[in-house]
């Protein structure tokens, strides 16, 4: 039984949504999603909410208040796997549908990090209290550690990070939902403030608020709705210890073995071999360098050819199209970001991506990353239920 996405709803992503409480933001996305699916709330069997760090929003289990208003007594589940919360929520909803327990499921992601006035400091507390919190470990430095390793190991240079950022921002200008609509060139990016060597400000993600909702149904409930069929999925968790990931046969810190394994599982189920077999790839990466780590893991190139692939991928006619939405560098509402990647892929194969639609897109792949690239997910959708 192949589940399908038949509805997508998003709010615009902004630094702060003044004047809207969490429940309002959530209900805007949910209503848009249900309208898109031509489905009523009473037909929904269960709701899975994605909410990453509570301290970011200053409320424990914020889904209980916001989803609670819409739930009408239905089952509610909260998933929290950090950055992958959004995709994990979708996979959880799909698990319930695949089991037959639910026929129609809603996956929702909500981010209100604009409520935290000291968000950056909070992120340090994801790290081990004994071995890492005393050191300048943050979401920025954990990414820059990887960026410098990509440079020493595979020959990436500052220009590569800048070019990737320029491409993502170019795409975002055609996505009305995106938070940032920057018009920057390579020089602008490399001149922007350095956060932690080698990462510049314009290569990093913004801090965004907003909500995204996706409706998943079993195949009997698709009817004549426009569907994005979920053809392959994968989810793999790594060890916490970054120090353990340098010298191991599975692959080093920057080789992302969990993403590779998750992708292999998804490709196999979908009857595909690599991401060259899809039209669109939405990569969940808050930094240019994080995006680059995904290329070999998705079979787009060998690791040594990463830099040249990166440059080629920034050309306007490159296929597959990477991040037609602009990706997390243009909007990063943490709890929703991985779900948005799937939502965008679904809209692409359903032909509903508006101004950033990739012509003729039939297959799309969304990645998800959580923790310090510890959790990896891959979700592949198609306009076709099966390959004939």
């Amino acid at each position: 039984m192949t589940p399908a996405i038949v509805g997508v709803g998003q709010t615009p992503y902004r630094g702060r949504h003044e004047g809207a409480d969490a429940a309002t933001l959530m209900s805007r996305a949910v209503r848009a999603c249900l309208a898109d699916a031509d489905m009523e709330m009473h037909a929904v069997d269960g709701i899975v909410a994605s909410l990453a760090p509570d301290a970011l929003v200053g409320a424990k289990d914020m889904d209980r208040a916001s989803v609670g208003r819409l739930a009408m007594g239905k089952p509610m589940v909260r998933v929290n796997t950090g950055g992958t919360s959004g995709s994990a929520a979708l996979l959880t909803a799909a698990d319930y549908v695949r089991s037959g327990r639910w026929r129609v499921a809603l996956a929702v992601g909500l981010e209100r990090m604009g409520q935290a006035t000291s968000a950056a400091g909070l992120f340090n507390t994801i790290f081990d209290p004994f071995f890492e919190r005393d050191l300048p470990m943050s979401t920025i430095t954990m990414a820059s550690l990887r960026a410098s390793m990509l440079m020493s190991r595979y020959g990436y240079e500052a220009e590569h990070w800048a070019r990737i950022a320029v491409r993502n921002h170019r795409h975002a200008r055609r996505n009305s939902y995106a938070h940032l609509h920057l018009d920057v060139d390579e020089a602008d990016v490399m001149a922007s403030r350095m956060l932690a060597w080698p990462i510049h400000l314009y290569e990093a993600c913004p801090s965004s608020e907003g909500a995204c909702a996706v409706l998943i149904v079993n195949e009997d409930h698709v009817g004549d709705r426009k569907a994005a069929w979920i053809r392959g999925t994968g989810s793999v968790t790594d060890t916490y210890w970054m120090g353990d990931r340098f010298n191991r046969p599975e692959g080093s810190l920057v080789d992302l073995p969990t993403l590779r394994l998750a992708a292999e599982g998804a490709f196999s189920a979908a009857g595909l071999r690599t991401a060259h077999d899809v039209d669109v790839v939405e990569i969940h990466a808050p930094f240019s360098s994080a995006e680059a780590m995904a290329y070999p893991a998705l079979g787009l190139c060998d690791p040594e050819d990463g830099p040249s692939f990166a440059l080629a991928s920034t050309e306007t006619d490159h296929r597959p199209v990477i991040n037609p939405s602009g990706g997390p560098q243009a909007a990063n509402p943490v709890s929703a970001a991985a779900l948005i990647r799937v939502a965008e892929c679904a809209q692409q194969v359903r032909g509903r991506a508006g101004e950033h639609q990739v012509a003729g897109a039939r297959w799309a792949l969304a990645t998800g990353q959580g923790g310090a690239t510890q959790f990896s997910t891959v979700i592949i959708v198609s306009s076709e239920r099966e390959t004939t």
Binding site: A120, F131, L145, S148, P198, M242, G243, F246, N247
Partner: protein, 156 residues
């Protein structure tokens, strides 16, 4: 007459206290830093890796570790970064941190790299990119915390 366009906010400060139990193994590791100036690892009997910092179990093989092994003081840099923008609650920039695999260890451990000229970040980065050998150096007043030691580049 009440205004219908006034948007209110309410402030709150979260101030929860936590105390984390290090457990015997982590305590022994930190005490070895403090009292002996030694960095210790433990070996997994199944995959044979020496895990640093010392851990009571190997999460790959899911078995208890056994032997305690001293590692270092020399080591190689696996990767590094230089923090240039301030972050609340963390030491002032610029600060260089690196993952270093110490001699005898199979895993790398994180700490700061000192005695670098960080006024010129690009030059410092170039040096660290070349992965020069480093050694662990202990501070005078040790507290049983990871900051009881740091790394310095070995002069050639």
């Amino acid at each position: 007459m009440t205004r219908d366009d006034e948007l209110l906010t309410i402030g709150e400060r979260w101030d929860f206290e936590y105390r984390y139990f290090a457990g015997e193994t982590t305590s022994r590791f930190l005490v070895a830093l403090r009292d002996e100036g030694r960095i210790m690892g433990t070996r997994c009997p199944s995959c044979k890796r020496v895990l640093v910092p010392a851990r009571s179990f190997c999460d790959w093989c899911y078995v208890d570790t056994e032997d305690w092994v001293e590692v270092g003081p020399q080591g190689t840099i696996e990767t590094f970064t230089i923090m240039t923008a301030p972050l609340p609650g963390l030491p002032d920039p610029p600060v260089a941190i690196a993952y270093v695999t110490l001699e005898g260890a199979d895993t790398a451990i994180l700490n700061t790299v000192r005695d670098l000229d960080l006024n010129d970040v690009e030059t410092a980065a170039e040096l660290l990119l070349s992965q020069p050998p480093v050694r662990a150096e202990f501070v005078e007043e040790r507290l049983g915390r990871i900051t009881d030691f740091h790394f310095v580049v070995i002069d050639r």
